[in-house]
Symmetry: D2
């Protein structure tokens, strides 16, 4: 490894390029803009070219997602100087385009830049050029991403919904698109502008006995429980934040403080290691320990533990039919909610539960609810953490309710059977 | 691998020697008795000797655990013809001796044989001889086993509790010792006498969609849920048998039928594979499938699921103090129960729950209880399976109750603070 | 896995589809022709369609490489019914097209079919369609393959050398193209037409002592030495066939008999396992054993071993300058040889050494020579096996000679400095 | 990990305890003496006791191998306060006792201390106590070690050859015993007295192109070739030091300078990583790179390479019979040589080849020779490095010669057929 190219300054994780550079001796290259200036690495611009054996890379500036965003075309010079593929960073995805909401005061300008980058810089490379974007489906950087890992410029030009719009329609669409910006983005932007401190070794949290774990909690340690939603529902350390392991990347940055220690509760040591890695990528370096032998150790210690009742869709439907008085708290994104929700449900996005906690009526039972139940368990653990007593979680949530034919409403009030 | 020695016919798992023989071309050797005659392999007896390079193995017949049990001494002939070590099978363990309860009509005789094998056949090899038994701690074959993996004959002679008894005391002790014999033992005895059918490949259960899984249940498939106790408490497929993964070997043989298909619910594919292996060793070859994408798939399908309330030790103590009327069902072994249990608790061994189901009062709430909560979740799932509604599980159980100072009683009725 | 598609009947390895079908329960699908009729699986033809979630596969018959060859297009129906990609089997590669030499009496016809399949069946799918061929670089199925793993139809249309030809030029080119057909192809064709016998388990060759190994050689076992060229040059079991591990797939089928046992000499057990797998794919199931502890065991047994002198390029150049009288035996393909070889070198393709052995003058020293030395060690071991005494190998071979400026000649006799 | 016990200051490798302490937070404990004082960790002495759950460790000072050597007994207090096992460091091995040659001016004293430690401190623990030594067979710390990993005190007392001697005989034996002390021992003693610098990460040598590798050699880099003896014989980079991978620990410390860079030639990247680890344990931190793509890259570069002829035992025997005039250079230890060597062979220990290079007659062909050929390849590479032209290696060496009945002589001149 001799060259590291960054297509743009990332907001959603700590980029590992400084570490890779340290280990490999490689040099780092990225774009430049007046708005944000990298404090490490080397700057490249249009037509800068790099050759490796029979391959040639050429830089194309493609501002829009961020001002300094670049794409890089790839040629196999044994066949042609013309490119066979292009790496598009967060400019052009498979089935969608990049977010353009990071400069809200220049929203129209950046949306236009993004459109021009796609249509004036990338598309002229040719329909036959293979497209390698920086993200696949599941990213916080675009909701319409296809689950294919790559595509071709021609296919996207013909079939990607966003690329069927005129320039004006495109700008209109991007200005009105809604994206959440978790608080940790600020931390990531800062780290990635300066260049992250290299990690000499992955920190290995120490196994803590129940007494040590409890004492650390007493001293302010945040508890993150990364077990499954079902296991959390069954029993958990009081006041834990529950985020199932594979949701850490998307949600931990909403709740965890960078200023306090973190202690983990996990199914096994492998999951501890994975959790540490996910948290490191979000810049959390203070994972000091984990509960040795897992929750069982806590249980047999005689300490109190918490649990959350689970309800299935059939119960929700019956309550609806019987007009039971309780709060069905739908914690999906506003887009999902507006596209179809249960009648009389209350909406607060899972990332904003703590901010909106005072809005939630506490005298009635609360059932947390999302797409499948995974975000609902996060929400339920937050409510319990804040001392709200009567909390349930609906595992299955919207997906299950649709399957059994619950009525849904869309935002303009029209009802339909799911 | 050229030789396979079996120290005795096993009752608690399918021995893999026929498979190993098929793959390696090795020959199988074991002891002989009038009571049980192996239908495969070769017979050996006292002083039969096998040499491998500078090592020499010599057979010592040591009846007692079973009539055909043998031990095998090991010499490093570069140093001496005398043995450096002895493999004792289930005759002599570290800290205990083998079970002698398999011939209840000859209990005194076999206990005497066991004593004589240990003192007349093994001990004369010398205090300095290293002891390699066939089981470590955690086996169903002896409860007093030390957690060291091996010992020396001299150390056992001096410090093993059973070996401090006179011959008469030893026989008396063994006659009165209590061991459970799960129903699958019969199946294992039969398989191991004939020689197990070789497994050409580990059967790989197929991933089943929720619909396929539910249909199979309708056709009589047994559901085995191998997730953690907490996850089962949170949510499970109705009527499942819940046995946490690492308890399958010890408990699945009590409940699962060899005549019906088995479907698994597990945390992930790795756990499915482990469960299949554990079940195969118990002779269960009909694991036909597992719930694809785990319990989440069941939840989002809109189907009903079951759950079990969890209670911690503090609640149990408070109920005791307040004389709450409910059934605390202690499912530990009779030995554990007699050594100390909560007052007013009801005892039924976890293996015998189904046999004794009619003895359990159903009008009151039932809280299942064991040493730590792991057997209690098995019991709770069985009660739910049999349609008993008001079932809780005490995760933490006796260990937790002792920690918080619950009063306990021993069998003769005397009370003591734990 | 529910469906297995075969794009064509393979000649160069045993296809694993029957085994995969047995393990997964999947069904097998392939094309049909009058010339060769599969004796297993299901037939598909143009427009047969298969849907999997949001993906759709559609069959396109593309005869040419073989008569029953098919391609399969892939659509992501969430975006369009039109294809995003096409699997082209051995019809269209990245940078080349498939071989068309399997029906020498119909050479012109099949070349034309291949051209039409590419231009009338595949290209109309559109430039933007991603191309997934069945082979990458290094295959015996095409020499011009790019080392990229996939491409797009448009890129190939514009830049693949073969696709720049007119239909007549294309046919002319294919008719005159030279491909070798190792003898094992016949065996593979037969196995793949009938459907290979499933492998219940990978056969594990047994470790053999030197005495056992030598005895087996006496009984006709073929010895295959898969160590590096350097290690073989240093010492090897007399009369071994030397093929470095990663060349087994391409070359073992030229020399090994299916009718005799095979014994391996390898660096370690991992290499034994890999060699067994490579040989199984060529249909060799009689790998009965390997030399335990490797060549060192043979050496310390006191038995004679063979070795081959190594010479570097500088020596070859000096001999050329001094007009030394010896045979420089160039064993590369005829295409490589004609494109540039050392003056006064003799050409015999490595696969045809045994057939041509009588043509080789034995009174002079022989130095085997190829592109880098890897095929030269195979050739050298064959010459030693046939009792030719004075054999050397040039490690480095043509690549090294070019680096130090040896003169080369092309086939029409013109000389040039390399 | 909370405690790290060092039984003595090691001479033959860099102890990793400081690194383990840094990572785990554990404390280090070791013995104390007037002769050598550790500059890190904590001192312990007789009867210092450490308890861990039901286990108890007790320190026993056992000077002899070194003055500060300790042993540590282990009790399983659930059974007895008396020990079940003892960790003896380098004091007592399985089948042998520790070296006592590190204080040559106090040879008699330390041999007596060692005897007393064994008979007065360890043996009184009882015959039944299991013995866990610090080394197994193959160590540079004792040549008579059994290949069993542990034993019992009683077995050693009865059957270990050294323990059958009287105190005087024992001292006499130890004083006259011959051990080699490679030059790197001094470096290790120093590092282990001070406490090794912790390694934050295993240094990863960089892949070097042939040109970079050759340039580094020009700048003084030492080349270490870790491939097999056969591969080295076939071809190697001129002036390399050849030490097969698994012999690095025992031999690299004789030849490599700590003051110069080291470049590796290996079969593959896995072997590079292993070589780096072996070298690090000897304190070599300057492994800067390795030859990318291995020796093949060197060969195809057109550069000269070296090779060494191999001869098998039959040739040696024939030369003996025909009184051929050449130097058969036996590089085994003096003990091995005296116990039986070929007539007319010359002895120089492999570790001392460079020191004795002037003693070797260069006008005659030289064949290097050892036990099996592995040390002979090291010696041959050293001779070539020093510019000696006519060098062969006898792969198989003494083991092979014995098998084919070569005559041998013992030191007092008597001949015998092997």
């Amino acid at each position: 490894i001799t060259h590291i190219f960054e297509t743009h300054r990332n907001e959603d994780y700590v980029i590992g390029s400084t570490d890779l550079a340290r280990r490999s001796g490689a040099k780092i290259y990225h774009g430049k803009s007046d708005v944000m200036r990298f404090e490490y690495g080397n700057f490249v611009t249009d037509n800068d070219t790099f050759e490796f054996g029979g391959l040639k890379l050429k830089v194309i500036t493609t501002p829009g997602h961020t001002f300094e965003s670049i794409s890089i075309s790839l040629s196999d010079t044994g066949f042609s100087e013309k490119p066979i593929a292009v790496f598009t960073g967060d400019t052009l995805f498979v089935g969608d385009v990049g977010r353009a909401d990071f400069y809200p005061d220049q929203a129209e300008k950046v949306a236009g830049l993004l459109y021009d980058s796609i249509f004036n810089k990338l598309m002229p490379l040719g329909d036959h050029v293979i497209l390698y974007p920086a993200h696949g489906a599941g990213s916080v950087c675009g909701s319409g991403l296809a689950s294919r890992e790559f595509s071709s410029l021609g296919y996207e030009r013909k079939y990607s919904p966003r690329l069927q719009l005129s320039r004006d329609e495109f700008i209109e669409y991007k200005i009105n698109e809604h994206h959440y910006q978790p608080p940790y983005f600020k931390q990531m932007e800062c780290a990635n502008q300066k260049g992250a401190d290299p990690l000499l070794e992955i920190p290995k949290p120490i196994p803590m006995t129940v007494d040590e774990f409890a004492e650390a909690i007493g001293n302010g340690m945040q508890v993150l429980d990364v077990r499954s939603a079902e296991a959390t529902a069954g029993a958990f350390v009081p006041a834990s934040l529950a985020i199932p392991l594979n949701m850490i990347s998307a949600f931990a940055g909403w709740y965890l403080s960078y200023e306090k220690d973190i202690g983990l509760v996990a199914e096994d040591d492998t999951d501890v290691d994975h959790a540490v890695q996910f948290l490191l990528r979000l810049g959390y370096t203070r994972v000091v320990g984990y509960l040795q032998k897992g929750l069982v150790a806590w249980e047999v210690s005689g300490r109190d533990y918490d649990s959350i009742r689970t309800v299935y869709a059939g119960v929700i439907k019956e309550r609806m039919n019987n007009h039971v008085n309780y709060t069905l708290l739908d914690v999906r994104s506003i887009d999902e909610y507006q596209a179809g929700h249960l009648p009389n449900s209350t909406h607060i996005y899972v990332g904003e539960i703590l901010k909106m906690i005072d809005e939630i009526p506490k005298e009635k039972p609360i059932t947390t609810f999302c797409g499948s139940g995974q975000r609902a368990i996060i929400a339920a653990s937050l409510l319990r953490q804040k001392g709200i007593e009567n909390v349930e979680v609906c595992l299955g949530s919207m997906a299950a309710c649709k399957k059994i034919g619950c009525q849904t409403v869309t935002e303009d009030g029209s009802k339909k059977a799911a």
